[in-house]
Amino acid sequence: MSSYYDEHDCSPLADGERPNHMLHLARLLIDGGYASDLDMEFENLFSGEKKAPPASKKVVEDLPKIPVSPADVSKNTQCPICRADFELGETMLQMPCNHHFHSSCINPWLERTNSCPVCRHELPTDDPDYEEYKRHKARKVQRDFELESLHDSMFG
């Protein structure tokens, strides 16, 4: 049999730790259907300025740099930013979405915003508010999905 903590997806309080009442209140409000108000609140905070912040410096530094291979050259693979063909001896920076760029081309872009110029795959940022906004959006998707599956299980 699973434990109380497993079933409720939480962990016991550590010694001396006090329950986080604000967190519980927030969860109560979300579960009680106040989530849509909260969504609006987030929209108000962020919609005026949809522009995402720059990518995290650390994440950009750690992106893999790979040498241009003869295969890339024979396929005329281009850097999507400067539109020049990659040449032997150059290195390409590889994004997690598998798109390749010259470092000198992608770096100025990632200093402005956090997404791949080809597919908008988002890199983490150093902006805590934006990260919270992204988590909030992900939770909303999850909530909608759960509601949908609950609905389907009852009426589907």
Binding site: K50, K51, P80, I81, C82, R83, A84, C105, P108, W109, R112, S115, P117, V118, R120
Partner: protein, 199 residues
């Protein structure tokens, strides 16, 4: 101008010229001078829209920071569309603002504008008057847009009733374009349009 902007526009130019859309005369880009910062675009009005068969000319300015910032684009051909100003030709399109990405090109911008002609977004308008007409009286909107396209973009389908009304006001001595704007704005009610011009 920074080298990357000019170098890229030159490469893009070749790409657009070779593209199949150009071969089918759907889009076109030309240099205005030899600086590669000022370009002239052309899109064909898409089929099954009021703009069908019209040729729409665009002014394209390449910023020094291109392709990290979008090109500045506006319509030189007068057009009746919810997301394009009927006065200045300014365009409201997300990819020309905050949704721009450095991998987009002149070709994708022109194709997006063509798509915008086929699918207006009245809830994010540039021209509030046109957007309201589009939502409230879509028949009048379509006819008005077709009338503008035939008069300003050489589109083949005319709207004879509207042409007549503009001619009537013109014969009274009113400026043709002013008459067209007033009639378009007042759902082609001649009296209201005249009042509007005279007020």
């Amino acid at each position: 101008m920074a080298n990357i902007a000019v170098a890229r526009i030159k490469r893009e130019f070749k790409e657009v010229v070779k593209s199949e859309e150009v071969a089918k005369c759907h889009i076109k880009v030309e240099l205005v001078d030899d600086s590669f910062t000022s370009l002239r675009g052309e899109i064909l009005g898409p089929p099954d829209t009021p703009y069908e068969g019209g040729t729409f000319i665009l002014d394209i300015r390449i910023p020094e920071t291109y392709p990290f910032n979008p090109p500045k684009v506006q319509f030189l051909t007068k057009i009746w569309h919810p997301n394009i100003s009927s006065v200045t030709g300014a365009i409201c399109l997300d990819i020309l603002k905050d949704q721009w990405a450095a991998a987009m090109t002149l070709r994708t911008v022109l194709l997006s504008l063509q798509a915008l002609l086929a699918a207006p977004e009245p809830d994010d308008p540039q021209d509030a008057v046109v957007a309201r007409q589009y939502k409230e009286t879509s028949d009048i909107f379509s006819q008005t847009a077709r009338h503008w396209a035939s008069n300003y973009a050489s589109a083949p389908h005319r709207e004879p009733v509207m042409d007549d009304k503009v001619a009537q006001l013109k014969n009274m001595g009113f400026d043709e374009h002013k008459a067209r704007v007033a009639l378009s704005t007042h759902n082609w009610d001649i009296e209201q349009a005249m009042e509007n011009i005279l007020s």
